[in-house]
Symmetry: C2
Subunit: 334 residues, 2 copies
DNA sequence: CCTGTTATTTTACACGCGCAAATTTTCAAT
DNA sequence: ATTGAAAATTTGCGCGTGTAAAATAACAGG
């Protein structure tokens, strides 16, 4: 920048000002600089800029597992929104690893981000570390809530969506059992609780089926468990509500392979429903009846909240929790 | 770092040396520093470090579309490998956007990465810009090749895999037609060419069916096109080889919905095969017969090549192209 | 105990920039 | 032409670190 400014015949800070806001320099200098830019393709070093700016244009996005299409899709939308606003998003995946999540947050601090959108690993996350991070950096939590941490939370309302699905399933056939893995985050817990309550409300005994497995290979865990369940006739109900679509996808695959016809039509002996409206849910066979988490709304609102937070200089006052209602998506599987 | 060093009673550069290599300082000083670290939790600012280091520990990973599970999975493996080696991977997605890809590369340069793993957008990429980038930064290309650009290429051998699949399909039934979108990258082109050649070799006339659509919403594009084709009986063959698994997944969904039974068993009227062994391919119904691109090998070899490149100081000599053979995965759909 | 060599630490400078204060320029009004 | 306020630019300093060269400390050998 020094050399570049010398060539033009102005001081370096003038060039610096130009890059921060071209209208902040006199028209004649602006034109000189722009002319020089054509020739010498100089570009400020973002990382040096970040080191010195009071407020950077960096946005951190942290998700628990990026190879999960749900997070990939949300992250994609968030990134595009940020880019459109002239901000610089950087995306991190904790890869399901708690230590890595903390590492990421520590490095993120050094990026001096204007704000961070964090979908925590959930139950496994180290609450204290995350709390400390949120104190230093304006952070919006999404997808998975941690009480009292972050400036706001944006997610979906499991206590609305799950009862709705239970109700639908009961109205249209046998009451569902609930198929889950060991709860990997608060959502999974809430969904189970919501299921149990809803069943009791309708006068049914909750029936919970748990698949073994701890990692993020949901489909495989569900597939293996479902296969065994179907073969041994171990399902407590011929209607299965899965804790999320990835489990449902694995379940459907197992059912298909066992020759069980899944769906709500005649000749079908099993109904399977999911939750999330995973990008692939409409392409399974049979297509998956599920609850749509509104990707668009969740990602948009998270970003909105973050921008608001940034403008308010890191303080939104009272912590708010925005919960979006799920929409029942009736497809073929239930 | 200044303060921290003062507290300990050494000069700042000594602390700096410690963080680069703890054994490079005297044992007594090392112990003093480590003791102080327990108390004051100081941590060097990575971005300041990067600004000054000759060689950083940064690795750039650029993929064309991260919401595609294939890339998400490859990126995940690459990231984990890098982290295990003590490097700092940063992941970028071009989101299918050519300009964004160039932007990313420009910023990546400023990160002074030790090396970059780049899966280019492909056909749409601006060859010149990417070439310039590769001249400045040690880069390994993967997935999608651009001739003569980058220090090496790691990908899969479409001219081996596609003929193998064509051969298999012909041996077991009707010769396949080829279902594709407008080729979005070199792989798509190569696969079509390989298909045509293989068909001719076996004495068949190539039959190519193209679906309309340009973006990365492959499943939907395939679904829409397949539905129309099936309803209007427009398929030139009852065996369909899809250019990739995502198209196949969309195709299967359409077939299922139209009541067409897909598979190689009795009562099936359509066979569908894919290519890539997408993470979901084994969970479709019917499960998808496809070609496995060896994720493990491709990601591992790419990383190996990159490390080699870094050690050789950015010059591997002759540009090499490593092509992995695909494995035929016989599942139920064909 | 002295000397020469090597291991370690310190000094001085560099990286690429933003920011506040001081200075200069501009321009309208007298 | 003079004045004065506002706009633009420049000066000087700071950010948090790496690195080469100079200075010091440690150590082995006589």
């Amino acid at each position: 920048m020094e050399e570049f400014a010398a060539i033009i015949g102005v001081s370096r800070p003038t060039v610096s000002k130009f890059f921060q806001d071209p209208t902040s320099v006199r028209k004649s200098t602006r034109e000189k600089i722009e002319a020089a830019l054509e020739q010498y393709d100089y570009q400020p070093n973002i990382f040096a800029v970040n080191q010195n700016r009071r407020m950077t244009k960096n946005i951190g996005i942290v998700v628990p597992y990026l190879a999960d299409p749900f997070f990939a899709e949300i992250a994609r939308r968030i990134e595009l929104r940020c880019i459109a606003e002239g901000l610089r998003p950087t995306l991190f995946s904790a890869h399901g690893d708690q230590e890595l999540e903390i590492d990421i947050l520590n490095n993120l601090k050094l990026l001096k981000p204007a704000g961070v959108l964090l979908a925590p690993l959930g139950r496994r996350s180290e609450r204290k570390e995350i709390a400390r991070f949120c104190q230093d950096v304006p952070t919006i939590l999404f997808d998975s809530n941690i009480e009292d941490i972050g400036a706001a939370f944006v997610g979906s309302d499991n206590f609305q969506s799950v009862p709705m699905m239970v109700d639908y399933l009961c109205r249209t056939g046998e009451a569902p059992c609930f198929f889950e893995m060991a709860p990997i985050n608060p959502n999974a817990n809430k969904r189970r609780t919501a299921y149990s309550r809803a069943m009791q409300q309708l006068g049914h005994e909750p029936m919970i089926v748990r698949a073994d497995g701890e990692d993020w290979d949901f489909e495989k865990v569900a597939y293996d468990a479902a296969k065994k369940l179907i073969e041994t006739d171990g399902l407590p109900s011929a209607t299965v509500l899965c804790s999320n679509d990835r489990l449902a996808i694995g379940f459907l695959a197992a059912a298909g392979e066992c020759g069980v016809r899944v769906g709500h039509g005649p000749g079908c002996t099993l109904r399977v429903a999911g939750h999330d409206d995973h990008p692939h849910a409409r392409f399974t066979y049979p297509s998956l009846t599920t609850i749509a988490q509104d990707y668009e709304s969740i990602s948009n609102r998270s970003v909105d909240k973050l921008f608001e937070l940034i403008e308010q200089n890191g303080d939104l006052g009272e912590r708010t929790e925005v919960l979006f209602e799920g929409r029942l998506i009736m497809r073929s599987s239930a």
